[in-house]
Subunit: 337 residues, 4 copies
């Protein structure tokens, strides 16, 4: 079978990783890289002399040889490029989040259905060894029903040019929660603040409310002196901590439980009962998540499989982010989804 | 000078620490311990044969020899005991938070003024080497103006019998922020949830809003598999991390800065500039905070000094907690203070 | 049954812990504390008004009411005090290491046999939840045969007045290894150096050689800027790490294996095969080791049980330390045991 | 000026890093890669289509266009390849350690002098931001005179095929100490053991003795369940810890001192005095050490500068390793250098 011909649009922060992974993949060849910066294009040429470089997106769209467009440009440009790509009958893989509005995300999904082309969002985290292992643990009911999720994702920079910190960092958390849970939130609340000349919040807190009364909470910052990637997943049987900065102990499963009840004789009195038990740290695959992601994209095209990071998850992420944005603008008011 | 005679009410979790510290202090003698549990009183007798034990509060109140009443009972009982103690002309030290309502806190303050007796709240954290060092660093303007504070204070249990997790854990954070900052919040928002049969939230998130647009955020939980005590204090010159679980590196000062501005020619474009520099870890005193706290209480009586953990901070904590409670009940609505 | 009457000799660093634990124990009463320093005796009186204090050891030895002598004085004094105590028909618990010479240790053991009195050494580590758990894991053959043990035990101070760092710190490691293994070393090598005016080495490295060709290595220092208590125990099936400074993760069991063989066709070529697997962190009891140790001592007297930290282990520790001393003096020469 | 033409011999573990760094460097072009494995050569072709690949070393040696030979093959082959390369008038960069015998190392140095070609050893560690910073700190006398160095360098695998763990791991430590100190050891002692079918020790301990009575100690293992890279450098004014596995806190400077003296009145009594102070964590450059190393090599050729990782350090490393080997064979006997 002929290799899929891949064009990568944008060679900034993430583009080089995409080029490297598609290059290492069977069944695909990166034939073109598009970027406005001649410096970046020169870098491509130095590392990959066989890849063609250009600053013209049109040239790529009109090239019938190219099967897939990989979009690694700023978020506000996703919709335009993806739309054009689908209209030109290309398969599309777009950086997370899919678009900066629900309206646009839905339009792209409709267009991809109409054109029968794959539209996939690069929520790489879902493909990491850690999240794949956690998904299996939850699906096997090892931790029981999820009671809460709490994530802290903070670091210094990189400030995004066209969105706030939630669109950048919480996008990861939302995709992970959507993937792990069988339930979607019914409303969100968010507060945030910009500490610079920019309008885009660099610190923000997001709470998701569920019909089951669960709450999920994300703490995001671009202006923390330290980097933290720390997620707690509390089940009613066990609890998980996912610390992505750990090298060999990313996922820890705590045999920890709690139970309290009010004393039937004295409803003011709480009887507490909790147990701390063993901790288990499963071995994770060391395969790069991005490598599985690009493979999943190519499978979706060749084998017509439904990708893990499919457009439903992509849309769900944009829905929550858009609602969160509205909540921030309204001083943390609850916004239905 | 004659030693102050001290009676400690409540010998549960914190009472033993208070007895030990007042016993080691000059100028004070613990003469009585009051508790309803004979078992606990027996423990007192075994360790301190010279201390009198009783289950009768009245006996203590009516004993004219006793100068000070130290209240280490559940929060819902603070007001009653403190009121009676002041009415019987005793100095009062009450566990944090002072009361479970602003109304009661104000009443106690008025009564202490009228009776000319010391009323102090045991916000022990303010006396630790870490917070004393941070206070000095901030007052010397070493980190510039505070931009944000973010605190995570989570662990498994101990569930409080008569209040939710904010009244228990956020009480620490609020007292610390009140002490460190020159500004009080104008409104709060909080969400929380109980995961047990009890009505009291065991997870809760609290955001404080300031006139200066600052936000401060607290993450509190009684049902985390791990214990975390982690506070970020971001200044516009430097940043501090206070990790209370570290043995020798509790306070770290990061020479970290960020600045972004929109490009004047293209207001869509953000120019980001951040710097990561050296880290400095100051040596802290190893004196137990509680030891300084009881000394401050005794000084307030003998030398008429204003204690660090005075009733103004005590009242401020109750104000914020009461507002937070109302916000939780109203699904996270903003509540003015 | 009448309580055992206990006299504690020495109220410096460790004495207070012994008094506290014997006080909390059933079947025993601390009746006397002996120390040369009036300040220390005053401290005893303040905390325990019912305990008699004195600076006269003779008074204690000649008091027929006293059943047991607990020796918490500098190492060079152990032999004299223990000998007198046994001669006066007292049971003896002596701080580790038992004596500073093998000759003296053997003498005490003979005397205790002759007098039919318990002689036990306080190797507290053996009673901690961590070592008890590790012992069980090894005895159940979960890690297979022990291949190596490697321990780092370093900190700043406390310099001992009459022995070098091995007698102080390696004493712990040697007692642990003696307890965990079924084999005694046949020779030792040690190097060390004093970095002060004192003759006693403050850094030293000790290697134990076994008939089975195993090697065990201890790294000890009093002049490290950080405190480390880190022991690796490599089995041929699994490996254990015991990090005593961890709060909740002291003992980790690694499902890690390695195997290499030379290529039969080309004996220069090594075929390596290693596997990194899951990690398991067992829950440990939180009971203080010292509390179990004093209970074991009292049981040895009342129930005639053989204590875990018996004089055989005590003697073994002194044998190795004495040999290590000789090796240091001889520039690291191998010394047979 | 024309670029230097570089041939890299060996494309196993380290070769790819060398190719990448020489490719990114100005003034140099990787023209050839030599390896016996067709698979590896195919990998080169995929990533760098412009590089020529071959399995014939002779072809490279006889190619007059090639200026430099970079040797990244097993240690036992270094001497042969380097000798031929120098004889063919190539500059040589050889992986650490330079050779497996002092005799061969000296021969290569003589040959390089005679041929007036650069001979350099890739002790990459010397070029890292951490070691460069530590070197500056020491040279500025900030920690005073070095009292001791203690390094732990352990992990699981990679077993080397033709040398023991000291030749692999201690080579790093020896090069670092040679670079940081103004004094060479006068003798060494080492013990080690193989736990596999191989003859090569996989655990070994090495002690260096100095005329000044200093001791330096290295703990190396290929069969540890965890990776540790931890070096303590104790000065008589301050102390440094270099933890290479830390992301942002690799180098910590402790304002820690100790002093003891014997009591002049009672020479049995030790008066100890130690102080724990602030900790300072300097910002390090994030430049890859290997990138500076290849630049230093090219400078040595073009600008005739003396490289940091020069053949004197390279020879010193081999001297100590050879002596250590002899000590292991003789049960840890002291071996003069």
């Amino acid at each position: 079978m002929k290799d899929l011909k891949i064009a990568v649009i944008g060679y900034g922060y993430w583009g080089p990783n995409l080029v490297r992974n598609f290059t290492n993949l069977e069944n695909s060849t990166v034939s073109h890289v598009v970027d406005e910066s001649p410096d970046r294009l020169e870098k491509v040429k130095k590392l990959y002399p066989s890849i063609n470089v250009t600053s013209s997106l049109t040239e790529i769209l009109e090239n019938p040889e190219i099967d897939c467009i990989i979009i690694a440009t700023p978020i506000s440009t996703h919709y335009d490029i993806a739309k054009k790509a689908l209209e030109h009958n290309k398969h599309v893989l777009v950086e997370k989040p899919m678009t900066n509005s629900v309206k646009h995300a839905k339009e792209l999904i409709e267009l991809s259905k109409k054109k029968k082309k794959v539209l996939m969002v690069d929520h790489t985290y879902l493909y990491t060894g850690a999240i794949q292992k956690i998904k299996k643990i939850i699906d096997k009911n090892m931790i029981g029903e999820i009671q809460y999720i709490d994530s802290t994702r903070i670091n210094l920079g990189l400030f995004q040019p066209d969105v706030n910190v939630l669109w950048d960092l919480a996008a990861h958390d939302i995709s992970i929660c959507s993937y792990l849970m069988n339930e979607n939130p019914i409303s969100v609340q968010a507060v945030g603040k910009s500490h610079t000349d920019s309008d885009f919040e660099d610190i923000a807190y997001l709470t998701l409310h569920f019909k089951s009364k669960k709450i999920i909470h994300f703490n995001c910052s671009w202006i923390s002196p330290v980097k933290i990637r720390y997620m707690l997943i509390g089940g009613n049987k066990k609890m998980i901590i996912f610390n992505d900065l750990e090298t060999t102990e990313k996922v820890k499963i705590y045999d920890t439980k709690y139970k309290t009840k009010t004393n039937p004789k004295n409803d003011r009195q709480i009887l507490a009962d909790y147990r701390v038990g063993d901790i288990f740290i499963p071995k994770l695959t060391t395969r790069e998540g991005l490598s599985s992601m690009v493979e999943d994209f190519v499978s979706a095209i060749i084998d017509k499989t439904k990708p893990i990071s499919n457009y439903d998850i992509g849309l769900q992420v944009v829905k929550i982010l858009e609602a969160a944005q509205r909540s921030i603008t309204n001083q943390g008011k609850e916004v239905k989804i």
